[in-house]
């Protein structure tokens, strides 16, 4: 963890990035910044054929699960066999191998804009 602020859901003990399970890779937490403020964001997963893996295919903005489903169907109904939607604010995102932007950014750079605290 660097000095970057994290969203409140990352304080959930179930997702505490500082307490990885023994043998698990060290997980970073700084990918937990908010995704959508006015409208809720929904992570979208698509399976095109039954033998295919379920693949992350971005996210949609929608105020409810039903509207998110409608939007996902409009975007991927032409190809998807299965659609999964997960509220982004209920989804724990960890970077085990990749490094999130906040930590790719130059460490110690004075932040004159405030970020999440702005």
């Amino acid at each position: 963890m660097k000095d970057e602020p994290v969203s409140t859901d990352m304080s959930d003990p179930d997702a505490d990035p500082d307490s990885p399970e023994p043998g698990e890779p060290a997980l970073d937490s700084a990918v937990g910044a908010p995704r959508g403020d006015v409208t809720r964001e929904w992570e979208l997963f698509v399976r095109e054929e039954s033998g295919d893996p379920l693949t992350h295919a971005g996210s949609v903005s929608a105020p409810s699960a039903e509207i998110a489903r409608e939007q996902a169907e409009r975007l991927f109904g032409w190809t998807a066999e299965t659609l999964w939607l997960c509220p982004a604010d209920e989804t724990r995102r960890f970077a085990a191998d990749g490094v999130p932007l906040s930590e790719r950014a130059e460490a110690g750079t004075p932040d004159r804009h405030g970020g999440e605290e702005a």
Binding site: E4, A30, V31, A33, P34, R35, G36, D37, V38, T39, E41, V46, E48, T55, H56, A57, G58, S59, V60, S61, A62, Q71, R74, L75, F76, W78, T79, A80, R93, A95, G98, P100, L101, S102, R104, A105, E106, T109, P110, D111, R112, H113, G114, G115, E116, A118
Partner: protein, 404 residues
């Protein structure tokens, strides 16, 4: 983006190299060939705006939004854009001048090898800030004005916005920045178009970008003021005529049409009627090089929270977030079936687009409008105003009136 002045009057301008491969014949700085494969990236670096415009695709608010990318994140993001080979970063918003660190970010983009340009409502652009932006390496300022004072101010939600935008334009010009106009054409302001061009051309503005309304953000809520096909046809024809009239009078203005590649087909037809077959063929060749609608290919958008979008207007769907992965990794990940299909859309377009003779220079125009109007990302764009004859299709009904 289609340069009407380039196509009809053979003007040259910075940026045309990106659109028409004009680098070899231009004396002005051009974007290099090798970078044309990468998208121009719009960065909505803040959602905050001091105005509240009816048509704002970013649904900007007057209060700060949470989760805005920090200065350090912004710089790293710009470095990653430069490493990916993005030729241009367009700082947009919200109102980008609401960010206190804008000059710092522009300088960082310029130092990284990106061409930084700015889209602003102009009302916060002082001479001091414009000078600092120029010093930082800013190459161009586009100021949004959507009509003469009364209509503009009503549209933008603030009395005096027109006068303050003009003051911003003057500040930008005084700092030596190339400055242009951004104008979204609707039924509210189509009648003001010519007066605004005349007013600003007199003040030394020589670049006019006319946007068709796209159905994103608050723009989706004002479809009732979008132009009818006949009105759109008349407006585009007026832009063409106006460009040639200025050119013939010795006052060369640069005019561009943005957001509806049915314009490409219309321009070829216009040239055939007004300028002859040879010119029409030449224009079609330019437009073929241009490549038609750029969604998901030559234009990309990253919002203030780092979400990557297919265009700046399509904020309701995100491919991924640069806080998770570098932009280039997201943009080249065609495991996303929508992204892959948009890049191979000729195989997917349906309806009137499927058999159109101008499909190669239009590519179905706005996929967002198609989705908004017909629930199908590969259906026809409701803003198409070409006649069946122009599209090379006989016996189809429900189309605009007689061609002109």
């Amino acid at each position: 983006m289609i340069s009407v002045s380039k196509l009809l009057c053979d003007l040259d301008a910075e940026g045309d190299g990106l659109r028409y491969d004009a680098a070899a014949e231009s004396e002005k700085a051009q974007i290099r060939e090798r970078k044309q494969r990468r998208p121009v990236v719009v960065w909505n670096c803040t959602k905050q705006c001091n105005l509240y415009c009816d048509h704002c695709y970013a649904a900007a608010e007057t209060e700060p939004a949470p989760g805005e990318m920090t200065t350090a994140e912004g710089k790293q993001f710009l470095d990653e854009l430069a490493a990916f080979g993005a030729p241009v970063v367009l700082f947009s918003g919200g109102e980008p001048l609401a960010r206190e660190d804008l000059v710092e970010l522009v300088a960082h983009a310029s130092d990284a090898g990106l061409r930084p340009v700015l889209s602003t409502n102009g009302t916060l652009l002082t001479e001091e800030r414009a000078a600092a932006l120029r010093e930082a390496g800013l190459k161009y300022v586009g100021v949004s004005v959507d009509g003469m004072p009364e209509r503009n101010d009503a549209f933008r939600g603030q009395d005096g916005a027109f006068d303050r935008a003009l003051a911003g334009i003057e500040a930008s010009q005084s700092a030596g920045l190339k400055t242009g106009l951004r104008y979204t054409i609707t039924r509210h302001n189509a009648d003001d178009l010519e007066d605004v061009v005349d007013l600003l051309a007199d003040r030394g503005v020589d670049r006019f970008c006319f946007y068709h309304l796209d159905y994103g953000g608050r723009g989706a809520e004002i479809r009732d003021v979008d132009l009818t096909p006949d009105e759109r046809r008349a407006a585009v024809r007026r832009v063409c005529d106006l460009t040639r009239e200025y050119h013939d009078a010795g006052h060369e203005i640069e005019t561009l049409l943005v957001g509806n590649y049915a314009d490409a087909g219309y321009l070829v037809e216009y040239a055939r009627r007004e300028l002859g077959e040879a010119m029409a063929d030449r224009i079609r060749g330019y437009l073929l090089t241009n490549g038609g609608d750029p969604t998901g290919e030559r234009i990309a958008d990253v919002d203030y929270q780092g979400n990557v979008h297919l265009t700046q207007f399509w904020q309701g769907y995100s491919l991924g977030n640069v806080r998770d992965r570098p932009f280039g990794d997201i943009w080249t990940d065609e495991s996303n079936p929508l992204l892959g299909a948009l890049r191979d859309r000729e195989a997917h377009l349906t309806g009137r687009c499927a058999g159109c003779q101008y499909q190669d220079i239009c590519r179905g125009a706005s996929r967002l409008r198609a989705l908004s109007a017909g629930d199908d990302p590969f259906g026809p764009d409701p803003q198409c105003y070409l006649t069946p004859e122009e599209r090379g299709v006989d016996g189809e009904s429900g189309v605009p009136g007689a061609a002109d």
